[in-house]
Symmetry: C2
Subunit: 363 residues, 2 copies
């Protein structure tokens, strides 16, 4: 594929919805020029816009032939199937893409390169398998080195998984650049890496090294940027993923946090099952602000500088009211960075002191 | 080795001290009958007791020949070398053990089984390589299931790494059994696994699954026990390892915590360098109690039921004073479980309500 423009088929069979097809939605929003079509036989005939609210007229089709006819030269597994293993129909799709000589990208915990049939098909067809969640080499142990960089370091944190932490970070970087700042996005998850072309999926590294890889990412990014905006992962109150969230927080040593929340969500979504009254309740936003700041201060103090509210599902009036309520409740700038732009957050970040932090206060 | 009693040479070359040779010290304390000798050429001629304060007359020797003469039939890598890779002299020792047909155990992040020379030597000699940190199969995502078990679940937590969380857990289990309770130790680190013969090194699993593996361990242990005592890992205020600590806490869903601290330690030890004034300061014990209880409550509430103080390095009088001060400061039972026994902690745990926890309060 070297020298060729990437034209992707996004595989989202049976799952092409705003919540299930997070990776596909991310690509459609930030790399629409690279998307030839989406594959979901249950929604074929529609457009990306009609299914997930982004992607305009990019079509939804049922087969590889159709997407090939639209100039695709690669396949991207755009959602994570329940249970980790690829369903049989998806395997056939991956094999079909490899038979055409296409590259295949995947952000699954299960690596395509370790599947003998896929590896053989790639060799035969001449395409490559890209497991973007595969950890880089090394065993870095964090030691609060990221606290000493000259750049401002900002981390998006959230009330839950899948509330818009990556999107907020990308929109903030754009808005900061609009203010003339040299801002840099640090991808820490598979979708961010697919969009940015760089990064580490910190949820897929050996647990001891989450903070160390986060530290490395910040040190590298800070060498060339005034502001480093790190994509957050998970949530501190998520029963399954809180460890990744804290490791990322303590490795990145941000001085500023942006709290992300999906308006109206009242409890943490537990993977593999429908929402249940027994799921952990999401506390009010001011409590979340305090919670994240306390956890940050165990290693390095950070102040929340704004709220990014995902208002997906609300009309514009309701969205404006929700943003206003979030600002009033927290006393912080708030916006839906997708619907209303990230300028209020970018301005708050631009106003932060950029003084080098050389000493190590601890609570 | 099937049918043969394990007789181990503990490899701790140049590092056989109480702090550096954590794994060796654990084996000497809890499985002394399985230890033939310790290998450390820089301390050869001494005894385990004279070097690390446990292990009695078990000798320290310089060579495999000497330890073979004492009936060894296996080698255990008893410390983790800086930087992850085995030093050349250690490689020779591992190869020598394999050439003798011995099994070799390792708790390193770098797996011996993935080293071609070791694998070949094992095949040739007939011994086996045991990487106890190798994750089990599966990709479990925790969902607060451990909160519903009938058993009392206790987790040891700490002010830092290497303060005695595993030792406290093992001593508490012993003391609980002395009170007639059916108590079970859950190993979550390499030394605990080597002692117990079971468990998962949660710091070595893919980060997304730390809490899930912890949940699985508790669910399995709780099926047969009245009290499940889980070995803690790391510390919430450790810049490198806090993510593992929080994942374990939220996966295990303990109702009770035992706070472990090394008397006199004032700052968190950062791996790879000597203590430094810039290292994170360890807050007072009552602040640590509050910190851990708050973090637990993000997913499931837990109450601290006692303090395990490691008084290594103090004389008996000073140790008694330190324990008294910890009890006075926290208002909790305190002891050095090794020096004074774990009875005060076991009694506090035995007094906990064992009512099944079926509902899901959230802060």
């Amino acid at each position: 594929m070297t020298g060729t423009t990437r034209r992707l088929a996004l595989l989202a069979e049976g799952r092409f919805t705003p919540f299930d097809a997070k990776t596909a939605v991310g690509l459609l929003r930030y790399r629409p020029g690279e998307v030839a079509a989406v594959i979901d036989g249950t929604r074929a005939g529609g457009t990306a816009q009609s299914c997930v609210g982004v992607g305009g007229a990019i079509p939804v089709v049922a087969t590889l032939d159709e997407v090939a006819a639209r100039g695709a030269n690669g396949l991207l597994v755009g959602v994570a199937p329940q249970g980790g293993a690829l369903p049989e129909s998806w395997r056939a799709m991956v094999l079909g893409a490899l038979a055409r000589g296409w590259d295949v990208w995947s952000g699954l915990h299960e690596f395509l390169t370790e599947d003998a049939a896929f590896a053989a098909a790639a060799r035969q067809g001449g395409g490559r398998l890209h497991d973007v969640r595969r950890p880089p080499p090394g065993r870095p142990i964090a030691a609060r080195r990221a606290a000493a960089v000259a750049a401002r370091v900002v981390l998006t944190v959230g009330s839950d998984c899948n509330v818009g932490k990556m999107t907020a970070a990308l929109e903030i970087v754009d808005a900061l650049r609009g203010l003339g700042l040299n801002a840099c996005f640090v991808a820490t998850g598979q979708t961010g890496i697919l969009i940015e072309g760089d990064g580490v999926a910190v949820d897929a590294v050996v647990a001891d090294f989450v903070a160390g890889f986060a530290e490395d990412l910040v040190l590298r990014a800070a060498a060339d940027a005034d502001v480093v905006v790190v994509e957050g992962q998970g949530a501190l109150l998520h029963p399954g993923y809180s460890g990744v969230t804290l490791g990322l927080l303590h490795g990145a040593c941000p001085s500023a946090l942006v709290l992300c929340h999906h308006a109206g969500r009242e409890s943490v979504r537990v993977p593999g099952r429908a929402p249940d009254p027994a799921d952990p309740v999401i506390p009010p936003l001011p409590d979340l602000v305090r919670l994240y700041e306390e956890a940050a201060a165990w290693v390095w103090p950070a102040a929340t500088c704004g709220v990014a509210l995902n208002t997906l599902g609300l009309d514009d009036d309701a969205a404006r009211r929700a943003v206003g309520a979030a600002a009033a409740a927290t006393g912080l700038p708030a916006t839906d960075p997708v619907r209303f732009g990230a300028a209020p957050l970018a301005r708050a970040i631009a106003a932060l002191p950029s003084a080098r932090r050389t000493h190590a206060p601890h609570a």
